[in-house]
Amino acid sequence: MIGILEVLTPSIVLIVFSILTVPVVNQIRKHGSPRRFMSLAWFLAPFFVSAIGIFRLCSDYYAQAERQPFLQVFFVGGEPDSFSSSFLVDSISTYMAIVYLFVGLASCIYAVLQVKVESELPERFFALLFIVLGSTTAATFSGDLLTLFIFWEASAAGSCFLIIYGKRPEAIEACLKYLIMIIIASGFIVYGLSLIYGLVGSLNFWTVREALVSLEDKRLLVVAFVFVACGYAIETAVVPFHMWLPDAYSAALPSSAAFLSSIVDQASYYVFMRVLVYILTPPKILDWTFALATFSALTMSVGNLFALAQSNVKRMICYVCVADIGYNLIAITSVKPLGLMGNLFFFFVGGMTTALAFMTVGILNDMGLETLEDFSGIGRKYPATSLALVVAVLSFSGIPPLAGFMAKYMVFTAAIEANMAWLALVGVLNSVLQSAYLIRLVHYMYSKPPSPGIRGKENRGALLPVYALVASIIVLGIYPSLALKIIYPAAKQLELLIP
């Protein structure tokens, strides 16, 4: 039997480490002799401890997954009360936890190597990073809408501080924008949740779902759906609510941007998917697929068109993130096992690729290279960093044998399978557009002569996590079964919900 403590171990570990980080690192700074090494050890420790926790959880869960594919764990044992917090362990939540941990580890190592240890008080940064990771993981495991909301807002609040970290003026403005957006979003969500509670009398995922299946009059449910979906759409940055994302990520430090885009972004897709596919399952409960398909097409197109117009590389990557949201929505819209498989694979790959892109662009930004023009000729000047960026870019444009291709393939095929060939067509056209502007970046990097102002050496230390990600993208592209083996049970479980 899986207890509540077991489910929450990873989050608790991360949050405890987060609280202890500031005093411990201060002590290390005062007394420790190989300071960098010791603080690195401290920053990596929570990942290993929570990895053990997740491993144990997974093995316990899969030992009994046959009997209870959707395992609910309650705070106070016994029956679901209307307000009792509960947690849900299934293939998707365990998979997502593994993804967060892996990508989070990579961005944490990068942050250690990239943020100047002495000057910028990094311990606060890492404390924030841990707390965001911890609450995101808890949100992933939550089993009722309220718990989900609480942990999700906690991680959003932490993200604000990550964006503002470094105190650049544009970061403060961007953070304000983000803050206002998520406050509006949480207002929407709370309102929608109150309607659902009024309709059903509970917020527990399964109770809500079962009650909604037999609901006759769906008018109020539509209102609730609009509020909840809009709320989460704002946090996911679905067009037309995407304005905060490019500002926030381009103003944030590269390590925050890598972390946010890979963890918080993917987590927000997950939340979106959990609420729409698992609770408001179409067509039994509410048929929202066409509405979402429209938004998906809009998001892809707007993201790619804006990316095309950018001259700042980091902002361009930000708009690629927006376009990626559109691709993910295609998969959610299809509500098919294949789409879900593509979706979950996309979470992982998209997280890794955006993290990789932000990391490499961050290394180059540190040398004062910002715009496409600045990137001229760096292919020869900084070969190692450029190669990693090229891998990220090619994976974004979906070129085999990189992992991005597999993800896009599954997503588009799912759209065709769900009788939405037009959406697949829009996606494919977008994909062409995307590869056009991304190859333009490669074009600048390799074809033009380097501008004379470029000085400084590659930060080779920071390339360690970068190349770990490059290797994973290539390996997953050639042999996707590594991840699909974990994802496949989740796709099978979806068939339990959709007869």
């Binding site: 393939y409 062409v432 590869s435 190859i439 390799y446 079964s481």
Partner: protein, 490 residues
């Protein structure tokens, strides 16, 4: 050995570390390494010949991504064998040619490493029957080519490479849609199994799958409305790469139309009206391309662009031949033409590159009388260009002749083909015209260039080999035709 095909597909990858290790000191050594790997690959592939001859087909299957329908299946039959072997010969020739041709300028280590990567794609495309692996290899042809054209080409090479990339990637994405649709209908990705499963698919969808595939492949083939990328890419690429582009990459498009559009999708379309409409469309596009390429080549003065436009014209022939489906003569003609055209056009590009390199001139108006200064070059250029022009006793004549025979045969049931075949025969006259003009202006007539460097032996060796192949295929095509028709019967 049971893993022959898998090894012959991925073998070139193993040469990359060695290329990097050795290439730091001498790029010549790197070239030798990749050359020996290519020859080894050729031997490995040839070792399947007895099996192919006795059973008609040899295949392998490996565990890959079970959730996506099909194991990793590789196969080789007479058709794949002849094209893949020709590909490897052409790659080996290009590498040998590169040793002296590319010796100045940028470091060549990356060039050879990219060439090794390219080989994986080029061989893989012809020997896999899993559509997903096919797509992998299809795109694998693209990335190394982009960097080779861009990094080692002439003039605004990255611009040309960019154009090439966008066009062919857009085409590839259409192919991907087709693959996705096939997977959706059948739940399988193996060409041969899909072929039987598609019969129950909705007819309207099948038509669109056919269109998506053919569109995507036609972009790679540079059939006329989608040809814009080809002249630039071929003309600005370094000569060995142009040889591979024209000799293999665009032909992969033709092979794919033959194998997938016609071989897998079309037989399942029940309505004969739709089938013949689609085939007529291909036929018309073929005629247009053949004329467009020939006429533009007649107007061009740049030596490499002439050869490039001639490729468009020849892909027109091939598309015309493909439209004769399911006529056996037509199909034999197409596959034979792919092999012959690979040898002839590959050699012609190498010749053009050698002329440019040793005279420093691209404009054929400023050449003239080169025959006396580089006699061996004159002979090998004559062989390759006469083959391209379709003169008897040289390779391409045979295959064009067989295709036209197929055209007349089809015409007896569908008069439309009399018309297109007649047009194609007229097009050969233009082919002859541009070839004679090109050869006259560059090699014959009064000499206009004072200083011509000697062509080194290492550049001449591949020319001699390819010339020999062209002559052999021209006078004794029997065994190859037998090999190809044995695969068509199965």
């Amino acid at each position: 050995m049971t893993e022959v095909l898998l090894f012959s597909m991925i073998l070139p990858i193993f040469s990359i570390p060695a290329i990097y290790l050795v290439g730091r000191r001498s790029s010549r050594k790197a070239a030798e390494i990749i050359l020996s790997f290519t020859i080894l690959d050729l031997l490995l592939l040839s070792s399947t010949l007895p099996e192919v001859l006795s059973r008609g087909k040899y295949s392998e299957a490996y565990y890959w991504v079970p959730m996506l329908g099909s194991p990793l299946t590789l196969f080789i039959d007479g058709i794949s064998f002849s094209i893949a072997t020709m590909t490897l010969i052409l790659i080996a020739s290009s590498i040998t040619f590169s040793i002296k041709y590319m010796e100045e300028g940028r470091s060549l280590t990356e060039y050879y490493a990219l060439l090794a990567l390219l080989t994986v794609g080029l061989v893989g495309v012809f020997i896999t029957s899993n559509l997903m692996i096919f797509y992998f290899c299809w795109e694998f042809m693209l990335i190394p080519t982009y960097f080779i054209i861009g990094g080692w080409g002439y003039r605004e090479s990255y611009r040309a490479a960019f154009k090439f990339f966008i066009f062919t990637h857009a085409g590839a994405v259409a192919v991907l849609l087709g693959i996705g649709a096939i997977y959706m209908v059948t739940g399988n990705l193996d060409m041969f199994q899909v072929k039987d499963l598609l019969a129950t698919a909705p007819q309207e969808l099948l038509k669109w799958i056919f269109v998506a595939f053919t569109l995507g492949f036609a972009v790679k083939m540079a059939i006329v409305p989608f040809h814009m990328w080809l002249p630039d890419a071929h003309a600005e690429a370094p000569a060995p790469m142009s040889a591979l582009l024209s000799g293999v990459i665009i032909e992969a498009g033709a092979y794919a139309i033959f194998r997938i559009s016609l071989g897998v999708v079309l037989p399942s379309i029940a309505s004969t009206l739709t089938t013949s409409q689609l085939l007529h469309a291909l036929s018309i596009l073929g005629v247009i391309s053949a004329f467009y390429g020939a006429l533009t080549a007649l107007a061009e003065n740049d030596i490499k662009r002439i050869v490039a436009y001639s490729s468009i014209s020849h892909m027109g022939y091939v598309l015309f031949g493909l439209s004769l489906f399911p006529c056996t003569e037509g199909m034999i003609g197409v596959i034979l033409h792919l092999v012959n055209h690979a040898a002839s056009k590959g050699l012609l590009f190498l010749n053009a590159g050698a002329v440019m390199k040793k005279t420093g001139v691209r404009d054929i108006d400023k050449m003239g009388g080169l025959a006396s200064k580089m006699p061996l070059m004159a002979v090998s250029t004559a062989i390759s260009s006469f083959s391209i022009a379709g003169i008897p006793a040289f390779a391409c004549f045979i295959s064009e002749f067989i295709m036209f025979m197929g055209g007349f045969q089809n015409g007896s049931t569908d008069n439309f083909y009399y018309a297109t075949t007649a047009f194609m025969i007229v097009a050969t006259v233009f082919s002859l015209a541009y070839i004679l003009r090109f050869y006259w202006k560059s090699f014959l007539g009064a000499s206009k260039i004072e200083k011509v460097e000697k062509v080194p032996l290492l550049m001449e060796v591949p020319m001699v080999i390819l010339s020999t192949i062209i002559i052999i295929l021209g006078v004794w095509p029997g065994p190859l035709i037998e090999l190809i028709s044995s695969a068509l019967k199965v």
